[in-house]
Amino acid sequence: MIFNSTTFLIFLPIAFFLYWVINKYGVKYQNLLLLALSYIFYGWWDWVFLSLIVVSTLVDYIAAHKIGAATDTRIKKRWLALSVVVNLGLLGVFKYFDFFADSLANLFTSIGYDAPIYSLGIILPVGISFYTFQTMSYTIDVYYGRMKPEKDLVAFGTYVAFFPQLVAGPIERATSLLPQITRARQFKYRQGVEGLRLILYGMFKKVVIADSLAKLVDPVFGNPAGHNGTTLFVSCIYFGIQIYCDFSGYSDIAIGTAKLFGIELRSNFKFPYFTTNIIDFWKRWHISLSTWFRDYVYIPLGGSRGSRLVTARNLFIVFMVSGLWHGANWTYVIWGMIHGVLYLITYFFFKPSAKHRILSKVIGFIITSLTITLAWPFFRCESIAQAAEMVKRIVLFAFTPLQYGQGLIYVGTILLMDMLIFKNEREPVPFKKSFLRKLYYSILIIAIATNWSHQSYNFIYFQF
């Protein structure tokens, strides 16, 4: 089931109603219902792949208990290794097997050995990169003693499969989400209203902005050779806004839906395009993934505790792995590496001028926006050659009249709307007066309804 579908619009109120009706019987029943709803939500897409979630849940539940019960560090390590191997194994088989097999075969071919290609040809289970990371972080936290293993299997299963954030995050930590699931919840009016507002704003971003831009972006990225430098450059900007609205729209809906069920999720985006350097960008973009890599990869590697060279190595590894996390294609690795290099340059060499603060911010904004924009082709194109060709055509920049200029209105709209709510990403309604708020809601709803497609565009991050 996807958020921008009529099925979800029917599912959500029913789930909401049942959830609060059953509240009086206690949190255990509420969690059982939430688990069932989450499995229905996921199973709507494919019941078979639900088994992977169940496997991941059971393995981590057992592993965490064994870690918690063991006194011997070697035994703890073994159970942790089992959890990591199973979760990464699931990812490896379902997401990366064909990619690595293909890359290996190409490598052999390049050195003159004609190797056969072994391909599993399995479709990628939706959300596998998200829930495997979420469950893995739980066992790692238990291993390091940051939390105790959860006894209630239903509550733990709900933590793994909690439907609002199951398929595309935010990737939650057990330390934050599990306590909310295990304690009794009461409906709070304020939280409910905030939830609905976020759902509305998220839907607007996805259905109106992202999907409209997708119609302009797809033909250009599908055939970069057929378009001039101006159009390609503008299409990169459009794609940047499209993916922002697509993914942050999803996160808003997820956070908003969770609020309706009395649960708070972490923020995933904080106006990433209003940034003056790449380090700041990564503090605002896909925050739950960035912090996950920080806590479970960067810091265990040594973080910034060693020499500058070691810090640089650790940062670069994180960006490469982060690129690969996005998809089984070298294009994502290159995209991660580009960001890694930019991050390192900024980290080691960039010192904002204290004298010319405004000027340095303006220059920083322009350079950061440009570099992020020019890296998008590596994220979006199907091959490195295609992305490189696109960047080359943009850099050579033969100015020609712009095609698809109508997309600028969507770019302007979202930037303006984000500017109005800049101080708080969780309060997407910039008006205090009741009438203005209602008018604003109405405009958003009408815009969503008139753009509601009979063939919904999937969220981009579902493929990861």
Binding site: F187, Y189, K438, I446
Partner: protein, 309 residues
């Protein structure tokens, strides 16, 4: 909780009023500019979807010629069949009313409309197998947007069958807008630069679409509604003594269950028998304009042979 639900219900009650105000505002804005309408609702003009064609259909209906032939079908009809060449080859006054992904049930509604207003001698029902089990969204949108009389029964019926929220909103908008005096429609038609050539025919230039390799597809199902509509069309034609010819679109790289059409005792022209290089097509079934003359001549010859029989 009660306060929460009460406030939602209150807002739901107010929402239609806001929508009505919004709708009127956008409709009135077309007196000055069409840009707001384009952004909020839509004004489509693609190859086969344009306002001029609706006007041309009514002009053709109003003509008093006795030897009229109507072509119905999907984009493989309006892009591939040149009615000028076909008319010249057959001596029949053809109008091509194909539209994007036109389903057979939509063709049936359109036939009803045409027969209410004129008499026809021939009906070429071109069916694209890919549309056999579609719901007709694209054609419904075209007819709602590019139609100066949205209240026509065939428009309403197709919207009803496509049953999409945004389509209903478009329908209500264009219905209201066309009731307000001085509002304007998006009428873009310049025969010199446009690919619309009149009589419902759209000429696809090579520069418009890059050629893509088609992937293998199988077409073997027809929705119950389309099947019923096909049988209804056959019965109407028998009752009104209209010579019906089914035309199966040519598709490269496909497996088509032809019995869906051949099971009826109706003449059928299978365009897959037309021999032409695939480079005349930009995908598995859409033809570049440069191939349409020879295809239409071939179709005309097939038509003539069937008529002789």
């Amino acid at each position: 909780m009660a306060r929460f639900i009460k406030n939602i219900l209150k807002f739901v009650l107010v929402l239609p009023l806001f929508y009505l105000a919004y709708l009127l505002l956008v409709a009135c804005s077309t007196i000055f500019t069409l840009k707001i309408e384009a952004l909020t609702f839509t004004n489509t003009k693609t190859a086969g979807s344009n306002y001029q064609r609706t006007i041309d259909l009514d002009k053709w209906i109003a003509k008093t010629s006795k030897n009229k032939g109507l072509i119905l079908g999907s984009s493989t009809a309006y892009k591939n069949i040149n009615p000028y060449v076909l008319s010249e080859r057959t001596g029949v006054d053809f109008f091509n009313n194909g539209s994007s992904s036109q389903c057979i049930f939509e063709s049936a509604y359109l036939l009803d409309y045409v027969l209410e207003n004129t008499e026809i001698e021939y009906l070429l029902l071109e069916t694209f197998p890919g549309a056999w089990d579609m719901v007709g969204y694209e054609t419904a949108t075209d007819w709602v947007v590019n139609n100066y009389k949205p209240q026509r029964a065939y428009v309403f019926n197709t919207v009803k069958h496509a049953n999409s929220l945004n389509l209903w909103l478009f329908y209500s908008y264009f219905y209201v807008k066309r009731s307000i005096p001085y509002t304007k429609d998006y009428l873009h038609y310049s025969p010199d630069e446009d690919n619309y050539k009149g009589l419902g025919f759209a000429y696809t230039r090579d520069s418009e679409f890059e050629r893509v390799n088609s992937t293998y597809k199988s077409y073997d199902t027809i929705s119950p509604l389309n099947k019923r509509s096909l049988e209804r069309i056959i019965n109407i034609c028998r009752e009104k003594n209209i010579k019906l010819i089914l035309v199966m679109a040519k598709i490269f790289n496909a497996d088509i269950n032809k019995t869906i059409l051949t099971q009826y005792d109706v003449p059928l022209i299978d365009c897959n028998n037309f021999q032409i290089d695939s480079t005349y097509y930009y995908d598995s079934h859409h033809m570049y304009g440069r191939g349409t003359d020879s295809f239409s001549r071939w179709l005309g010859d097939e038509f003539n042979q069937l008529m002789l029989k």
